[in-house]
Amino acid sequence: MGGSGPSGRDVLRQAIKGQRRDVALGSLLGAGHQAGEALVPVLIGVVIDQAVAGGDATSLLVWLAVLAVVYVGLSFSFRFGARAGERAAEQAAHILRVRLVTRVVDPRGGAEDGRLPGALTSIATEDAKRVGTVAMAVMFGFSALMGLLVGAVVLLRISIPLGLVVLVGTPVLLLAGHLLSKPLERRSEAEQERTAHASGVAADLVTGLRVLKGIGAESAAVARYRRTSRDSLVATLRAARAEAVQNGLVLTLTGVFIAVVALVGGRLAVEGDISLGQLVSAVGLALFLLGPLEVFSWVNTDFAQARASATRIAGVLAAPPGVEPGGARLPERLRGALRLRGVGHGSLRGIDLDVAPGEVLGVAATDPADATALLRCLSRQADPDTGVIELDGVPLRDLDPADVRTAMLVAEHDADLFEGTLRGNVAAAASDPEAVLAAMAAAGADEVALAVPRGGDTAVSERGRSLSGGQRQRVALARALAADRPVLVVHDPTTAVDAVTEARIAAGVRDLRRGRTTILVTTSPALLAVADRVALLDGGRIADTGPHADLVERHAAYRTAVLS
């Protein structure tokens, strides 16, 4: 994946090509199955003609045996052909799913910009599946073509005029059906959207259940849903009526077509041009051929849907990266010195800041937007618009973002916990079990473990929702400490923690990070008080640096941001 990733067409082509063996096998066997299905009505005609009309028992047995062989063939080819097709579809979807997730978590980032997690998840499930279905569609399309060819050959051999009537008639019939139902289809699409809307409203209300309960708005919500549901019912009924009419129309057209075939075939038979059995076969084939032709129309729909899905997938795969990796390397032994010169990004207006190796620096921002912008640059989610950030003298811009993060962890305020146990979450990025215990103690997560039912083995579910806000923050902080990175930047790690615990955590963090560069981006005085030095970030610039106590005395802006 370079700067310009694959297009929707590439995604589609790769999905089929990647499964070419199964697709080929499926198509071949599927063709065999369709040929078999085409032969069944032909054989019925033959049995009527040769055995029933002639009263020939031997011929009956012979043709029934032939019919049996055809059945064995069509049954096996269907079973193994469809299996290959389904396997191709599932595997293609799986590969796309993994590729999508790989792109989303790529260190260079950028894939989730402007896309909600729910939307991305739906691309990784629904859209991947639809693209996978193309493998099946190719197989079915090819098989149907084969069935059509066998039918056509048999029909034309029975009688050229009758064959032409059927071969021209079936597509005309289907075309007429589609043309007649086109306006209906368009209408039903709009109405389906209304239905989807009703389902969305219900899901939204259930998601906000706690809020509804909190203010006693259940009845109002139910009343609102009932209105939406009624609107959607009216729309659905219109769509359903349209569909019923379409069904009736198709049935009528098919019936008329069979009547025409019977008329032409009957006349040919009366004149002796074709046999009785051939008449029966022709009628049977006319009915059969509608099947493969139907397949073509839904294969078409599948392809249209898959193209739309593939475009969405390609959009994610080809998303421009948030940052580009450079070729520089960090020194083997990292001292952990940070140097910011003239850094401008978002609301930042030229930040100059030096962090000495092993220093614990507090950064207090009067505007949360400044803090966020600084953190984005430090974690290399974005590069500064102006100026430079250097780690041990190497500009971050010249490094691979993955290398930056191995050296320097930026633990965000809203960091997510993952499915797994409480201890497993803390140990996620830790190399040393000792570090896990120490980190849990320093962050006060040991107390969290004591407070939950199964201690450190308690499962964390729904991205940590099963814990309280304060518990979640302490576990997340413990995870950041346990990762034991040469440089650690934490953002507002204790906003939901009580004052006593917060003071203990501040001391714990200070102790545990002794001798390693640590930046505390926060307005909590408890944390700022343990920093060697605090930088006041005001109006997009570093307004002052100094110990917490000094800044409190010197700066009204600092007092307002930090105290009260």
Binding site: V98, A111, E419
Partner: protein, 646 residues
């Protein structure tokens, strides 16, 4: 895969066991969350619910059925007419004789089309109307479930039912059921038509039935447990994707990319494997159906041969019989395959009915505690400040048996009083707040409210957990008070300092917000929650850490908005920042699930107990270096200037 037959009573038994024993019926996954899914209805309950839903539409159901029978019967005239043409040819009639049966074929086609269109539209009207009633009833009951029950089941359970299960049932009603009905009608009427041709044709055709019946039973037996596992695997895959994609920034920050890609690959692949097992099962099912097809077709052809030879039937009749049977392949296959859809729709329906048939709550919506209206007789307006608005006595609670989080709490909230709850994380503040708000049913003791509950909900709860409802902002706010005018809404927004940005939205308060609409900042969302509180206008308000996530500056602004929102109400505020405690009328200090101190801010500080220690820890970090004049008014100089407090 077990050989157990599909049996919903097993699920039911497990549910009930979980209800009785608490722990033992729960998820046995090691370290898995203790889940207790919402109830699933038994087949009998489901049938009763469907009957109940259909009852008002009996006329429509009868008309739809009658028209569909007529449509199918008309269509079955096709094969005998084709047989008649074969006979005319066999008997060497002139070509002109074909005109009549061909014309009749045309008439049959038109009649069949018209009746089918009418029948299908009647059937879908019936299905859709019943479906709409079902989903409305479901949402109604779902929103009124006790929150405690929903939380025990995990919020995913209810969401899955309201989305996946509703759409599964809808899909079945829209496509599977009409198709199934048509197929079954064709099968039954075709068999009747075969019997009309000659009863021996029917006997021959029925030879296929034992194979089909056996196949269907075999399939259902194997498919049901497999589909249950497929659903679980699909759910796990979805959850993992949300986990990884939603937490992508964290995954990158901690360099967990490889591990998460592995997790997704594993979950996705196990879903693929289960799907393929399902595919192999379905395909074996088709193979067996092919055997049945061949058996029946051969038997009908042999019957035709014998009957024609012995002069009981014409060649045309034998042709019609063979065409009838060949025409049965489609309906039989779709009927048997639709068993599948019907099966999963049935399972979904049972999950929906399980919720709609769940026992209702005793008292007002969402309220688990008793509302004893002790002072309700009094004129509410005449109740003076100082009367008990909420009386908590002997309250105890445990989320897990044997792990009590609240012990023997007694507390009286006086009317109009603002009480702050203070304590370390895990001290039981949130639990007490939830019990007072009626979210949880107390294990022991009681919460009594002395407020009239006829005018909406007496206690409102605003928590950190916030949500913006998708749709216009005004509609969101009106959930709290449906009859509010636009001016009411603006006034409520103004009280929480949210009117300016709300008016600045592209369409003002009509701007579509929430999922699919404009995204709001957490602070804006929190203000909307407070505006809703003002509109709901409850006499008692419980606020739980509502300002904790806004950062220091934002927290202060939100605090003052919250203060205005609870003006004139009896309020219980879970104080995260001690400034909230300092401005409260009384402070309640909790520790390890008990109340350890109660009193006014100044009293408690003077008492030198736990609150005094907390306050010192707080003010120490904040005010140690703070010169006198810029201190908040209610800070005690003696404390704030005393540096050796730890």
């Amino acid at each position: 895969m077990t050989d157990q037959p599909a049996d919903h009573t097993t699920d039911r038994a497990t549910d009930q066991m979980a209800d009785h024993t608490g722990g033992s019926g729960r998820s046995s996954e090691p370290g898995g969350p203790a889940r207790e899914l919402l109830p699933t209805a038994t087949p009998a309950e489901t049938r009763a619910a469907v009957r109940d839903l259909l009852r008002p539409h009996r006329g429509l159901a009868a008309a739809g059925f009658a028209v569909m029978v007529g449509a199918t019967a008309v269509g079955l005239a096709t094969q005998p007419l084709l047989g008649r043409i074969v006979d005319l040819v066999a008997e060497r009639h002139p070509a002109g004789a074909l005109t009549l049966p061909v014309a009749l074929l045309g008439i049959v086609a038109v009649a069949q089309g018209v009746t089918t269109a009418l029948g299908l539209s009647l059937v879908s009207r019936l299905g859709e109307t019943v479906l709409a009633r079902l989903r409305e009833r479901f949402v109604d009951r779902a929103l009124r479930l006790p929150l405690e029950r929903v939380e025990k089941a995990g919020s995913g359970d209810l969401t899955a039912r309201v989305t996946a299960d509703v759409s599964q049932v809808a899909e079945a009603v829209r496509t599977a059921l009409p198709e199934l009905a048509r197929s079954l009608l064709s099968i039954v009427l075709t068999l009747v038509a075969l019997a009309v041709l000659d009863w021996r044709f029917l006997v021959a055709a029925l030879l296929a039935v034992p194979v089909q019946a056996h196949t269907a039973r075999w399939y259902v037996r194997n498919a049901v447990p497999l589909y249950a596992r497929q659903r679980v695997a699909a759910g796990a895959q979805q959850q993992q994707l949300l986990d990884t994609i939603g937490g992508a920034a964290t995954v990158r920050a901690f360099r967990l990319e490889a591990e998460h890609i592995d997790r997704v690959t594993l979950r996705s692949w196990s879903a693929v494997e289960l799907t393929m097992r399902g595919v192999r099962l379905v395909l074996r099912f088709y193979s067996r159906l092919h055997v049945a097809e061949y058996t029946g077709l051969a038997a009908v052809l042999i019957a035709g041969f014998v009957l024609v030879r012995d002069g009981f039937a014409s060649i045309g009749t034998a042709t019609a019989a063979a065409l009838y049977f060949h025409g049965l392949f489609g309906p039989i296959n779709s009927a048997l395959v639709l068993i599948d859809d019907a099966q999963s729709a049935g399972a979904s329906l049972a999950r929906l009915v399980g919720v709609t048939a769940a026992p209702a709550e005793g008292h007002g919506p969402g309220r688990a505690t008793d509302h004893l209206d002790e002072h309700g007789q009094e004129d509410t307006g005449a109740r003076s400040a100082g009367d008990a608005a909420v009386t908590v006595s002997g309250l105890g609670h445990a989320y897990e048996p044997d792990r009590p989080v609240l012990h023997d709490v007694d507390l009286v909230l006086r009317t109009g009083e603002r009480v702050a709850l203070v304590g370390a994380s895990g001290a039981g503040k949130t639990t007490l707040a939830k019990l007072v708000a009626g979210v949880h049913r107390p294990a022991t003791g009681s919460v009594r409210l002395a407020v009239a509950s006829d005018d909406g909900r007496p206690v409102a709860l605003v928590t950190q957990e916030v949500h913006v409802f998708a749709g216009p902002l005004a509609d969101d706010l009106r959930l709290a008070r449906p009859d509010a005018t636009d001016d009411d809404l603006r006034e409520a927004l103004a009280r929480v300092n949210a009117l300016d940005w709300a008016e600045a939205l592209p369409d003002g308060i009509r701007t579509v917000v929430g999922e699919g609409g404009r995204r709001l900042t957490p602070t804006q969302v929190q203000r909307i929650a407070l505006a809703r509180l003002i509109l709901a206008d409850p006499p008692v308000a419980v606020l739980d850490e509502a300002t904790a996530e806004a950062g220091s500056t934002g927290a202060r602004a939100l605090e003052s908005a919250a203060g205005r929102a609870i003006e004139g109400r009896t309020a219980l505020v879970v104080a995260h920042r001690l400034t909230q405690a300092a401005t409260a009328d009384r402070v309640v200090v909790m520790d390890a699930g008990r109340i350890v101190e109660i009193g006014a801010h100044d009293e408690l500080r003077a008492a030198g107990g736990r609150y005094a220690a907390l306050w010192e820890a707080w003010s120490d970090t904040r005010a140690r270096h703070l010169p006198g004049p810029s201190r908040p008014a209610n800070h005690d100089p003696q404390h704030t200037t005393n540096p050796q407090s730890t």
